[in-house]
């Protein structure tokens, strides 16, 4: 009896005051520390008398029982003797607690609760969410026929406690639309609706659920939830906010949901996929989760400052996403409410402080799509096959080759030319040896320009037109001389003929090729007419090399017989003595495609590649395949990922005093907050171990937070309403037993999100009608008791996707780079980056909202109007607003007007009278059949618009050329109904 009195006296007034709204269950007869007392202390006292030593006043802490008792603030069983009570009752502004200027004030009910709690012994308890969940036995209920699933017991129990009964089951079509939107984000089709209605089997609904969970649309829809958490966006943020290629991560998430990757694995791969043994490229891709942090490319920024901000963001996001904890405030000072000190913060930070990224986009990882990987593998296989084919030699080939080869006995492929004369601007001496090598000696000039004039008449046994020439470069070991091995820098090379009378004729050089060219100093740059760069050989200047050029017009015999000489001018004005100190020049009359840049000319290869028709064809195919492969490989998207620093470069982690990275204090080692479980003994002290710590059964939060999140997406509010805060400042769960049961079950089911969703949507709780009792009869206005089914506005993406799907325009392409559906001109007026929004044409105009390009500093307006985020920081839950700007979007935005046009077309194409057409349109959007009132009202509207609309203009706006314009206007209405915007 005494329990009941205390409940009436204290418990009831409390929840009015706090607006907890969460109806306390009968099992909580005593004043519960966690439910009643901790919120009072946390809200009013802990800021100055809590865990944060930095802001603690009077050296008193009230968050620990012993400390509070030692300080006589609390005397158990004696509230009158407790200083705490004296202070809160005091009239003296100097003594009164909380201090009048703090903005906090206790109500009489608070004080009564505190007294009662102290008088009954002042028992403290660990905050509920810091104790690992256990599956308690199902509560006893009276209506045993109602539950379809264990979870229904918890819900019904609470309803019965509150003298309520569940709502009746939702109608079949209402349920179908609800579950389709919930599991896939897309509405069912009329065909699916009819099939479900006609399926009388007991498991008709289960079949629907299983079909939906198997569809690709499932992963697309649920990945959106995760992308909010991952702060996914297509740009880098801050001032420049330039494009970032990270859509492969988005596709990884879609795929992980569709494959139902267990949540523990999903966790480990995203936080530490790069540290897994035998890591796959997909596991590395997963780590892009934490590369969605912003990078600042503004001039003059300190990379370390923004690297630190990114690492802090990773720590904060990890704590928020997996544990529902707000660690962020501990980066400046110890947490004021939860037991997380600034040292705990930076110890956890230390795990994340060892990655290579440094406010730059890299490191990147090649992350081909499956399709691209397959194409690359095919191309490689084709190349292997073709190249083995190119090595096959038939007898006929051998004979033909022997015959062909004979010509070189008379006339070698290359004939050396002898140096007739030369000039050196800076006085270098050049001498030619008998073997044709030209050796520089004497003064070793810093830079120089040479003119080398060669005799042509004796270059070849037979006088024939000359098609090309070759430069051979030799290192000192192969050519001698006193010039040390150094790079060469032929900035520009020109050729001309010099006739005996002094006249000259320029020779155009083409088709430059070399055995090797230095990066950014390709041989082609030697003949590009610009002197800035040319042909260089670093770092391979201690090996011989060859460069070959063709003459665009061969040097004809008559010119040679006239005594023309070849003059080459070599601009070597780079400096650092990069001169061609040992070289040889030779010419050829053979076809240009025979003249390879090869150290040892391979005549058989030339014959096979260039002369013999059969083998030539195979080589041609090989070349085509190689260039195909190169193209494919260059199209592989590269994604920013997490990669650990080389241990010898590892960073020291120190506490950042007051969060200031320039003011570092005590050094810390990586560590977890052990209150949430000991670090797993068999795991490395790295991100990998930290990730596994999150998913071990001892962790009290990870499973609870995830099941709560999924529950919230289905029911509109979580069992813990403050999805973002499971700490002492958060709200307590409405159904603690249910939350824990689901959390444990989730883990026991192999962390399967699909199984969890299946359980929930098959429950009687989910299947209730969402009809609300009117007026005062509605004792559960926010549905916190789950006395009916969920009904709330669809998310931004679903609003769009539903309109596109119903109108038949939705593109079902999955994944790929983000797209730019129409947005009004001038929205992207951003500084500097010069990137432009180009309205997509074709199917990309009608992709799911998930694929819409997201620029952080200028997000897609139609989405943000419906409360989608901008990807700037981790968004745990979206608020749901209901604003006039939303009406303007769905009434007037091009996407929705075009959807109305397409929906009208669908209606038109149906045979039948107006009523039939409109009924079809209504069902396409809302699935259920319209009532007479509804269909009559639409017919009235249709008729009232006769001769009123500007037919040509509205049809054009709706993306149509011809058609029934009144139907377009009616379709616009259908896409704007409250029921359309709402999950039923």
């Amino acid at each position: 009896m005494s329990f009941q009195i205390s409940k009436h006296l204290f418990v009831f007034p409390l929840f009015v005051v706090f607006g907890l709204g969460d109806i306390l269950s009968a099992e909580d007869d005593m004043i519960d520390f966690n439910k009643v007392i901790r919120p009072i202390l946390a809200k009013n006292c802990f800021a100055c008398h809590g865990p944060d030593e930095g802001s603690r006043e009077a050296d008193l802490r009230l968050d620990l029982r012993t400390a509070a008792i030692d300080a006589s603030a609390i005397v158990p069983a004696n509230s009158d003797g407790s200083e705490l009570i004296k202070r809160v009752l005091s009239d003296d502004p100097d003594l009164k607690m909380p201090p009048p200027d703090s903005g906090h004030e206790l109500t009489d009910a608070d004080i009564k609760s505190l007294r009662s709690w102290i008088d009954s012994g002042a028992k403290y308890a660990t905050h509920w969410s810091f104790i690992p969940p256990t599956k308690k036995s199902l509560p006893a209920i009276s209506d045993a026929g109602w539950p379809k699933h264990e979870l229904d017991h918890f819900v019904l129990k609470k309803l019965e406690e509150n003298k309520l009964s569940p709502s009746s089951a939702a109608k079949k079509l209402q349920l179908l639309r609800r579950v389709s939107l919930d599991l896939t984000g897309l509405p069912p089709t009329i065909e699916e609706a009819d099939a479900f209605v006609n399926d009388a089997s007991e498991i008709a609904f289960e079949k629907v659920v299983d079909r939906l969970l198997k569809s690709d649309a499932y992963g697309e829809h649920w990945s959106r939830m995760w992308l909010d958490l991952a702060r996914y966006a297509d740009t880098k943020g801050y001032e420049k906010d330039r494009h970032r290629d990270i859509w492969r991560y988005r596709d990884w998430v879609i795929d992980a949901f569709n494959r139902d990757m267990p949540y523990d694995q999903f966790t480990v791969e995203q936080l530490a996929g790069d540290l897994l043994p035998n890591r796959t490229s997909d596991q590395i891709l997963a780590t892009a989760f934490h590369r969605n942090t912003m990078t600042n490319e503004e001039g003059g920024t300190d990379n370390e400052e923004f690297r630190v901000k990114a690492v802090q963001d990773r720590v904060d996001t990890t704590a928020q996403v997996w544990m529902g904890l707000t660690m962020g405030c501990a980066k400046c000072h110890s947490h004021k409410y939860d037991p997380i000190s600034i040292k705990d913060y930076y110890s956890f930070y230390a795990y994340f402080n060892q990655t290579q990224d440094n406010d730059m986009e890299g490191p990147f990882w090649p992350t081909p799509t499956a399709e691209l990987s397959n194409k690359i593998a095919d191309a490689k296989a084709a190349i292997a096959e073709l190249s083995s084919k190119t090595r096959q030699r038939t007898g006929a080939f051998k004979t033909a080759f022997e015959n062909w080869k004979k010509q070189f006995a008379d006339q070698p492929l290359w004939g050396n030319v002898s140096l007739d004369s030369y000039t050196s601007k800076n006085g270098v001496t050049l001498t030619q040896n008998d073997d044709g090598k030209i050796i520089a000696s004497g003064k070793q000039a810093e830079k120089d320009t040479w003119q080398l004039t060669f005799e042509l008449s004796n270059a070849q046994p037979k006088p024939l037109p000359i098609t090309g020439f070759r430069i051979e470069y030799f290192p000192q070991a192969k050519g001698g001389g006193d010039w040390p091995d150094k790079n060469v820098a032929i900035r520009e090379l020109t050729a001309e003929l010099v006739f005996p009378d002094g006249k000259t004729e320029a020779l155009k050089l083409t088709n430059p090729r070399a055995t090797f060219s230095q990066a950014n100093w390709p041989i082609a740059k030697a003949i590009d007419g610009k002197k800035r760069v040319g042909w260089g050989l670093s770092p391979k200047y201690n090996e011989p090399h060859i460069g070959v050029f063709d003459f665009q017009n061969p040097i004809l015999i008559d010119k040679i017989t006239q005594g023309a000489k070849l003059r080459l001018t070599l601009d070597q004005e780079y400096g650092e003595r990069l001169l061609l100190a040992r070289s040889r020049f030779s010419v050829s009359h053979y076809p240009a495609n025979w003249l390879k840049a090869q150290l040892k000319p391979n005549l058989e290869r030339v014959f096979a590649e260039e002369v013999n028709a059969d083998t030539q064809k195979v080589f041609g195919e090989l070349k085509a395949a190689q260039s195909r492969l190169a193209k494919l490989e260059s199209s592989v998207p590269k994604t920013p990922v997490m990669l650990e620093l080389d241990p010898k470069n590892s960073r020291e982690t120190k506490i950042h005093n007051r969060g200031n990275f320039l003011d570092q204090g005590e050094k810390v080692s990586p560590a977890v907050v052990e209150m949430f479980g000991k670090f797993p003994a068999d795991q490395p002290a790295s991100r990998l171990g930290a990730a596994r710590w999150l998913t071990q059964p001892e962790n009290p939060l990870t499973a609870r937070v995830m099941v709560n999140r999924i529950w919230a997406r289905l029911f509109g509010v979580g069992i813990v309403e403050t999805e973002e805060d499971f700490g002492t400042q958060g709200l307590p769960p409405s159904h603690p037993g249910l939350l824990d049961w689901l959390a444990v079950d989730f883990r026991e089911n192999g962390w399967s999100v699909k199984k969890l969703l299946r359980s929930i949507v098959l429950s009687s709780t989910y299947r209730q009608s969402s009809k609300m009792p009117s007026g005062d009869a509605n004792v559960d206005p926010r549905n916190r008791l789950l006395s009916r089914g969920p009904r709330f506005r669809l998310s931004a993406e679903v609003v769009r996707d539903q309109a596109l799907a119903a109108s038949g325009m939705l593109s079902r392409k999955i994944g790929g780079p983000s797209v730019m559906p129409p947005q009004p001109g001038g929205v992207w007026k951003t500084t500097y980056s010069g990137e432009k929004w180009k309205n997509a044409i074709g199917p990309d105009r009608y992709r799911r909202g998930l694929y819409t390009y997201l620029k952080r500093t200028s997000p897609y307006p139609a989405m943000t109007t419906f409360d989608a985020g901008s990807g700037e920081v981790c968004q745990i839950r979206r608020v749901r607003t209901n604003t006039p700007l939303q009406a303007l979007v769905t009434l007037n935005d091009t996407a929705f007007v075009e959807a109305a046009g397409a929906l009208a077309k669908k209606m038109e194409s149906l045979d039948g009278d107006l009523r039939t057409k409109l009924t079809y349109g209504f069902r396409t959007v809302l699935i259920r059949r319209p009532t007479d009132f509804e269909i009559d009202r639409l017919i009235d509207l249709y008729n009232s618009l006769k001769d009123s609309l500007d037919e040509a203009a509205l049809l054009k706006a709706a993306g149509r050329e011809t058609g029934d314009v009144q139907l377009v206007a009616v379709a616009n209405v259908l896409l704007n109904l409250d029921e359309t915007m709402t999950k039923p």
Partner: protein, 508 residues
């Protein structure tokens, strides 16, 4: 079940998001006046609320017009008369100003850059104003010039964010969002927080500067566009649908929604009906308030406004080379701002881009571009203050002017080592810069001083938190008590610590 019904309804709007720890109800008060005065689901709450939430204090300003010069104008060429700096002109910068400093672009040892323009004393207060602001000089007796402001950020995006949202990172609510969250709007047909941009680009930090952060998106700033398209996105009905047609379709939507409400009973449906009605009204009221062509020629001349003028600079890839002194875009926005606050809009934020005068490329110099930019705003701002005063509105409208930081007394030297016409510039300077406030209980005059070259404040230093605290204070919000719970903190515009203070010295 004994929970009072009205309280339950209060909770129906994602309670934590609207009410937080600051006591029940102020959000609903704001929300209600922001959205609609009748017929919505929130209406009943009003009776339940205490009319003055705990953070409310007596207000001087009903509304705020904040003029942000994105890029940051040079205080040394506009407000700070520094003859001593003139004497150092073109000499090597003393080491004491370089040691341990981080600059955005200055490298090595730069030269000092004296004032590039003449200063003259104006008004009864005898304030020194640059020759670039002749019109502002005439109204300077209504203005409180604060010369001693410093910030912690020296890059545009973080500094703009710190100024406007109280945090250098993206994702925090704008000052305008905070104010409308706290006070609501006075016009049921217009958004409470309106943003107008000019200069051809949005500021560096983009639309995050008027985002609502963790506050509900209804408090997000609504950018009204003046470049010829819809003033509010999606405001126009589809082509071919007349107002009468829209009315017919809306009547059908509302009838079907009412029917739905009878069947299902969800109060959100009623809210949706009223929001569709409000949207319909906004389709008329917004273009109306945005139409300055109805103003008299005299009024247009006062501002230098030209109705319907669409500047080429507004759509150019690089607008800076197209700037002209008589470009009326900013002037039009000033006139609009007056019309908006007159219609009850709570917070009007103007951004004018193009004030980043480094001197490193064409169209961003102190010597050539600054005079053009100054000309674009001088008459307009003087006109705004004069107009507000004539209407008796200056007493209840707080006007704030400034950039996100100041500019260095040194010449920026990374492109040009020497003075070169059209390329004279100054780097970012966070340590001391000038802003001003006028109207709504602000005492005219000069506040704060800096040293001889304007490098550091020497008297009455003012931080960004102080400015924010003062602005909130003038609109009737206690900046220390006004917060919103998020991420485990009671988030406030003025930041988590109490370093900020209301600048009581400048209050009348």
């Amino acid at each position: 079940m004994t929970l009072p019904l009205q309280l339950q309804k209060t909770q129906a709007i994602t309670r934590r998001h609207f009410f937080g720890n600051a006591g029940l109800g102020f959000g609903a008060v704001a929300l209600q006046s922001l959205l609609s005065k009748n017929g919505d689901a929130f209406h009943e709450n009003a009776n339940h609320q205490s009319p003055s939430a705990s953070f409310r204090i007596p207000a001087k300003a009903k509304s705020v017009i904040y003029l942000h010069m994105a890029g940051s104008p040079s205080q040394l060429d506009l407000f700070e008369n520094k003859p001593a700096l003139g004497k150092l002109h073109n000499t090597t910068c003393p080491d004491e100003y370089l040691e341990g400093k981080r600059f955005a672009f200055i490298k090595g040892v730069p030269k000092m850059l004296g004032p590039m323009f003449k200063f003259k004393q104006h008004g009864e207060t005898g304030q020194w104003i640059s020759e670039l602001f002749p019109h502002l000089g005439k109204v300077i007796d209504d203005v409180c010039v604060i010369r001693s402001i410093s910030t912690e950020q020296f890059n545009h995006a973080p500094a703009q964010l710190l100024m406007q949202t109280g945090n250098p990172l993206l994702g925090y609510p704008a000052m305008g969002s905070w104010v409308t969250y706290g006070l609501g709007s006075e016009n049921e047909n217009l958004p409470g927080f309106v943003v107008l941009a000019s200069g051809g680009k949005t500021p560096s930090a983009g639309k995050s500067l008027w985002g609502s952060g963790f506050l509900p998106t209804i408090y997000q700033g609504v950018q009204c566009r003046t470049d010829g398209g819809d003033p509010i996105l999606f405001l126009s009905d589809p082509k071919g649908m007349s107002r009468a047609d829209r009315r017919k379709t809306l009547d059908a939507i509302n009838d079907l929604n009412r029917f739905q409400h009878q069947a299902v009973g969800d109060p959100e449906t009623l809210t949706r009906i009223s929001q569709y009605e409000l949207a319909f009204k906004m389709q008329v009221s917004v273009p109306e308030v945005m139409d300055i062509s109805k103003e008299s020629q005299e009024m247009l001349d006062l501002y230098g406004a030209k109705p319907g003028f669409i500047s080429k600079a507004e759509s150019a890839a690089d607008p800076r080379s197209l700037y002209k002194g008589d470009d009326p875009t900013f002037a039009n926005n000033c006139l609009l701002a007056r019309r908006l606050v007159e219609s009850g809009v709570r917070f009007v934020q103007l951004y004018d881009w193009g004030w980043d005068h480094h001197g490193s490329s064409l169209g961003e110099s102190i010597d050539e571009t600054l005079p053009i930019k100054a000309k674009q705003i001088d008459r307009a701002i003087a006109g705004l203050l004069t107009d507000l005063k004539q209407r008796g509105k200056l007493d209840e409208t707080l006007v704030v002017w400034g950039g996100e930081f100041g500019r260095t007394p040194m010449m920026q030297n990374n492109v040009n080592k020497e003075l070169k016409k059209g390329f004279i510039g100054r780097d970012h300077h966070p340590h001391a810069f000038t802003m001003w406030m006028a109207g709504a209980g602000i005492k005219p005059g000069v506040y704060g001083q800096t040293d001889d070259i304007g490098y550091y404040p020497t008297e009455n230093p003012v931080g960004i938190r102080d400015l924010q605290a003062t602005i909130l204070h003038q609109v009737g919000i206690d900046p220390f008590k006004f917060g919103y719970p998020n991420q485990g903190l009671n988030q406030r515009l003025i930041g988590p610590t109490n370093e900020g203070k209301v600048l009581t010295d400048i209050l009348a």
